[in-house]
Amino acid sequence: MSTIDTTHNNHDAHHGQGLFSHHDDHLHPEPTSFWTKYVFSYDHKVIAKQFLIFGLFWGFVGALMSVMIRWCLAMPGQPFPLIGNLLFPSSNGVIPPDFYNALFTMHGTIMIFFALTPIIIGFLGNYSIPLMIGARDMLFPWLNMASFWVSVASGALLMYSIFVPMGPSAVGWTSYPTLAHSQWSNGPGHSLWLVSLFLAGTASIMGAVNYISTIIRLRAPGMRWRDLPLTLWGLFLTSILNALFLPVLTAGLLLLLIDREFGTTFFLAASISEAGTQGDPILYQHLFWIFGHPEVYIVILPAWGLVSDFLSFFSRKPAFGYKATAISMTAISILSAVVYGHHMFTTGLSPLLTSAFTTLTLLISIPSGIFFLNWLGTLWRGSIHFTVPMLFAMGMVFTFGLGGLTGLHLAAVSTNLLLHNTYFVVGHFHLTMAASSLLASYGAIYFYFPKMYGRMMNTRLGQIHFWASFLPIVYIFMMMMVAGYAGMHRRIYNPYEYNYLQHLLRLNQYIGIAVAIAFSAQLVFVYNYFVSRKKGSVSGPNPWYLGTLEWTIPSPAPYYNFDKIPTVYNGPHEFSHPKVTDRDFIRQDEYIEGISHKNG
């Protein structure tokens, strides 16, 4: 295994960016053994693929769980088809209520920490950062590898926790005490969940430190901050949020674990624990949400950046208001740290706090509006190519617009009191953080597939995949908001226990149908992915005709990415420049008199 990789990169870090050319003769041969090449690889591109497969596997598990959840709501008391009798023999195939609670707990945990995070941060970050900044690898390749394998350990623990006696964790992904204490959720399931998430958090912190350092230290000569593709702005800000707030979550989880396993009372209130102890379950909510709200942005920021880039790439037009978009994303990252209280409006916060959190939360709509309108500005008078990544990007613009506007209802304390803990919340956050990041993730996969494998994914199947996912997704989450406004609250096994929810049966059945369609559509993607790897048409180095650095090297990307570290002279989005007539894009690493900047 080549430990020299780290030396190489540290060396660069010590000497600054200008010395890259000295290292051309330090190139090390690609590892040849199976273990060093595919398993314990230091190569950021291999680690990216590992994260991608890891995320797709867990995404499939999480999606299957959502199908089961929707089955319960659409077909209360009916055995789950095909595999019901296998999984739940004691109830004749009907999903039992405690397992239903485990399902939505696991669905939330898996989708956030084991599907979206590995794909949109682990895969996209690892794959795009070194290639887009013109580096040969991440700054800390060993840390990068460790981040992935800690994620695997965390995933293994979570998987194991599903099969332990007394069942997996069933207290919701937020894991609120005191329900999460051993008195009310017995058995090893939830403790394993806590350890697993602790490890997942650790892995993310490792990745975050690496991403931040790499983007700061390893940018190619001449690459100014304003020459970074917006994807990297998103990933950079995400990593900062991860590095700042995941430690808070992991600390909270650790305290809860100690409460469970060693009988401390950090989160147990005096009146119900042993005399003389003073804990507070609300303290956990503060710890959780001071991480939990930035987490929404952690998952969505890379997606915003990516979509900003895609809209420019495929409209063949510079990103509209690049600087404003970057500043807006930074402003949102800062604001995200001070708005978490809107998750706790029903815990009896004082009016001073509710007004403050209402106002701060609603302030986020200013920067969000700016970059959102910049997206539309990018499309305006462009020359729009509806490639598959572009379809996903435009789909994301739609879902994020819808999700963003419905966030207003939840930000204000008045309307929040109607909607807190209802399906309105579920529909809203699925549109913003789930559907939007999911669509962007798919866009990223279709986009980088030719660079990963040297072949294109099938366009027709990609279009089918997009429409068969996008339309049901919009329907599902819009109808969830309708159900929520009609009073349907979250996390209930059988809503029809309540008379005022009985008329929602039909609606929930239609949502169930849409979920089944959206789920099946993902199989088209899986088929396309695995078959196109070997059978797709050969892509060539620059199939999308772009100027960013990753498209200046051959496809699939060679082991050391760049033979010679490029020098950057142009921004990432120089399309349709009136002075360049033979093609409609300018490479970041070419110098054109009168257009390029001279920083290189």
Binding site: L379, R490, N494, S520
Partner: protein, 315 residues
């Protein structure tokens, strides 16, 4: 679609994926099949018709398709103000969403790539209008939505959310949920909590029509959410600390109290009932119930002893 080499493996993969697709689609079809739907509705109604509690309270609402988009009837004096704000926000947001959708669709058609069409080179500051148009539109959203929400939240907080009623006519109730029932406590005839004539009920909350009701809540075990959709209010029940809110109910009838916060396996069944009575009926009931409570009071029974000092937790 793909090259012809390695046909056998290709068709094998194809077959596997066809199978998986068939399973996926089979699930969708079995959900969609009319007989399955009909069967579900049948068992569903059978289950609910056997539910005595529902019949006893007789809360069966029939709704038209359009009404199913609306929340249950608002019965509190402030519910309509929250509903208005929700509807205002939704409509204005819908208008902006419509503008966005129209722009997306129009740009997609008007500026689609085609021979002879070249994109306009701008970074968004070539003309003054490019610089200011997004900012003005953003400002319009902020003023018409965010400022209204901030202002309304402030006014609502001042007027009713944090403006608790006081005085002799206020009905005071202590609520202590536990897995998975709602315990209610009224001060009884002597108007003092923690005495022998306190009325305690399970899953049965009664209030007089039109009178303000002050509720203090604390949980016995895990966090629960006291949620009455009809009065448009909810408040968490937290073990170890007391939360409070108030409401009033202007229409006589039976309503449901839901637990809005995940509280364990039977969370979905943790349903209480709110009975809004005429004032005289309520008075008669509370006096009778207070007498019975006093007569039946058993100092050895710890389950009746829950409760806390009202005044200490009121302000």
């Amino acid at each position: 679609m793909w090259g012809n080499n390695n046909m056998i493996r290709h068709s094998l993969i194809k077959a596997i994926f066809r199978l998986v697709l068939a399973v996926g689609l089979g699930t969708s079809v079995s959900v969609m099949s009319p007989s399955a739907l009909a069967q579900t509705e049948e068992t569903f109604h059978k289950q609910n018709n056997n539910n005595d509690q529902v019949h006893a309270h007789g809360i069966v609402e029939t709704r038209s398709a359009l009404e199913s988009w609306a929340p249950p009837k608002s019965i509190s004096s402030y519910g309509h103000r929250l509903d208005w704000l929700f509807e205002y926000t939704s409509w204005v947001a819908a208008i902006f969403f419509l503008i966005m959708t129209v722009a997306l669709v129009y740009f997609s058609i008007r500026y689609r790539a085609r021979p002879g069409h070249k994109a306009y080179y701008t970074h968004g500051k070539a003309k003054a209008s490019e610089k200011w148009a997004p900012k003005l539109l953003d400002l319009a959203v902020f003023v018409s939505l965010d400022l209204v929400l901030i202002g309304s939240s402030y006014i609502h907080t001042r007027d009713f959310i944090w403006n608790y009623p006081a005085g002799p006519e206020v009905v005071r109730v202590q609520v202590m949920p536990q897995q998975w029932v709602w315990n209610f406590r009224y001060p009884g005839k002597d108007d003092t909590f923690g005495t022998e004539d306190d009325i305690t009920t399970i899953n049965d909350m009664r209030v007089p029509k039109g009178k303000p009701v002050m509720v203090q809540i604390m949980s016995r075990d895990v966090i629960h959410g006291f949620f009455i959709s009809n009065v448009r209010a909810q408040m968490d029940a937290i073990p170890g600390s007391i939360t409070k809110f108030w409401f009033d109910a202007n229409t006589v009838g039976d309503y449901e109290i839901a637990c809005a916060h995940l509280c364990g396996t039977a969370h979905y069944k943790m349903k209480g009932f709110l009975k809004v009575m005429e004032e005289t009926d309520f008075k008669r009931w509370s006096e009778e119930a207070s007498d019975w409570s006093k007569a039946a009071f058993d100092p050895a029974d710890p389950s009746v002893k829950w409760g806390w000092n009202w005044a200490l937790n009121q302000k």
